[in-house]
Subunit: 376 residues, 2 copies
């Protein structure tokens, strides 16, 4: 993997760059649609490319391990062959499930035991095992095994957890560096900064992560319920320390405003289930603000979903029709809204990139964030 | 509406024809994908046209009346404007719900009272009201209000119900003929033959329906649980009586084999939820037989879904991937399987048409029906 820093905004820490993998080049800042189980929910692969303009998508180690399972993925020749998305893919390590499945897992120094959310089957993830699994899944960018701490999190727990995540990182690097990619293309490992919302821990973690000298770095443990201002403060602390010549990935973030604010702080890569999950519930993100399509006010609004939208669904379907589909729980409603929201997220980061390159990102961002949260 | 009979198979009663409406011409025999609530489940409108080659789709009066409701449909300018499918559309009258919602409706001479399956709201459908509703929905072909009787059905009930359906038909025709289309294009009313599985009743009903001299005729009350042989026997009795110069629509049928057998008996139009409903459960219809994609045997079969298939999903996705999606309840699985099954149904009736025109339908049909039910 290579990273080329192309431009830096004069009035913020926003950056434009190029991440090159064996499956193609990604223009940053970028948003990665989430395809947890080897599919972005309700979206065809050709729609990801042609309508949404996705450059990279994200899968999840925990879910892929359970279904379809490593045996199938290996026989398929890896995730790209399996799901047919031939552009870059990234897999999260399962560290997020240490947080989200807190009731059915146990953490120890050696690793984490989970009870499968599907059938209760026990599984045990160690840093080494998670590297092996991600070698078999075969994403271009794979993530270190960490603990994503909850919010709020007491200082002692956050510190101990961070230190364990650091020890786990060493084990991840050792295993990763001692094994080969399986499918003829390169993989790279991103370590993850933790430290909850404690500035000193975040600094400490960022320094440790930077010292590992991997090809890219990630920030985890944010967007777990903390106020946005705390998230931005932590990002700011961490990006000041992480090397400038490597991409920075802020995991699980966030709303359109969160994304622009974090771009301003020097983040290059994002993922979040919000555009697809909220789409299925009828929430649409647009350049003029947020639409809850379930509201009665849209029931006889036959105007296009989003006149400023970039995908065919925006002009091809009306608000009234989409509202009817969502209210009626028609699958097509989820399809249309998911394409819209993802195309909007990709448009947004693409515009951010243009403005960074043009040198007027900061002022554009300040105008946009006022509109993005407005309830239409 | 116009119907042109183009060809008749020399060794069966199969026919090829053209039905022309103000929204375009339909080549018969034809299968109509079911879009109950103004959407074919899990399928975009451009997929209906480009990938599935749908020439006409079907909506449902009962469902559309409840959601989005007549007010919205009228403001939209009718169903075509509302859902954006600009080819012909047909609406069922609600007569099928008299059967399928038997526990929450009451039949009287004047009409049928229903309790909404959504919120328990009471509604009362009379033949006149159903004509008015279908004028407002605005399909090209609308159906008379009838009672679809269950199977088995005792003779007395079947006879009384049929006679009431005939009386209702007169009321439908009177109301339909006394009102105008609302959106600048023509509508036509198809009456429905009933009579359960009783040959004398079916004959009597077919004669009555034929005597009404509408532009097309339908057969209802079949495919409700009776053995296929009884269905074919009833179709045979009825098509011998219905005029040859008008299209014949067999409602709610059926499997691929049912469709070919009924084409051989002189049916021109079909609809059924089977290709979409079964798709969502992982059952795929192919020219070589039936695939239950949930079966473990497909889990590491990375071959295309259907090498003989006509839509892009058939070559663009593997069996193993589709199995994974269906097992994981990913919406994309329903999307892929629905496109496949509908494209297959449209291919099947298109092939039937070619063979009717070529004059070798009967032998082709006999070869095909042996393969279509085979479990792959």
């Amino acid at each position: 993997m290579k990273f080329k820093l192309e431009a830096t905004d004069p009035k913020s820490n926003a950056r434009a760059g190029l991440v090159t993998t064996d499956h193609g080049t990604i223009e940053t800042p970028i948003f990665m649609p989430v395809g947890t189980a080897a599919a972005v929910k309700a979206v065809h692969k050709h729609e990801l490319i042609e309508d949404i303009k996705a450059q990279i998508i994200l899968g999840n180690t925990y879910h892929l391990y359970l279904r379809p399972g490593l045996d199938i993925l290996e026989k398929a020749g890896g995730l790209h062959s399996f799901n047919g998305f031939t552009r870059p893919q990234l897999t999260d390590s399962g560290g997020y499930q240490v947080y989200s499945l807190a009731d059915s897992r146990k953490i120890s120094e050696s690793g984490v035991s989970f009870k499968s959310h599907i059938d209760g089957m026990k599984l045990f993830f160690t840093p080494e095992r998670v590297m092996d699994i991600q070698r078999t899944i075969g994403a271009d960018i794979i993530m270190a095994f960490d603990e994503c701490t909850p919010y709020p999190c007491d200082y002692e727990y956050a510190k101990n957890s961070m230190e364990r995540t650091h020890r786990w990182l060493k084990r991840c690097c050792e295993r990763f560096d001692g094994t080969d990619a399986k499918y003829g293309y390169d993989q790279t490992l991103f370590p993850i900064v933790q430290g909850s919302t404690y500035t000193d821990l975040r600094k400490q973690s960022a320094e440790f992560i930077a010292s590992q000298n991997r090809e890219g770095n990630a920030i985890g443990g944010l967007s777990v319920g903390e106020p946005a201002e705390e998230m931005y403060a932590m990002t700011d602390v961490v990006t000041a320390i992480l090397p400038k010549d490597k991409p920075r990935y802020l995991m699980g973030v966030g709303t359109p405003v969160n994304i622009l604010e974090n771009i301003a702080l020097g983040i290059d890569m994002f993922d979040c289930v919000m555009p697809t999950r909220n789409a299925r519930n009828g929430m649409l993100f647009t350049s003029e603000g947020i639409i809850n399509i379930r509201n009665a006010k849209w029931q006889d609004d036959f105007s296009p979903i989003d006149p400023n939208g970039t995908s065919y669904v925006d002009s091809g379907y009306s608000k009234a029709y989409l509202r009817h589909l969502i209210i009626s729980k028609e699958i097509l409603g989820a399809q249309i809204a998911s394409i819209h929201n993802l195309a909007f997220y990709l448009w947004l980061v693409g515009e951010a990139r243009k403005h960074i390159i043009a040198g007027d990102f900061a002022s554009w961002k300040n105008t946009m964030v006022k509109k993005l949260d407005y309830r239409l």
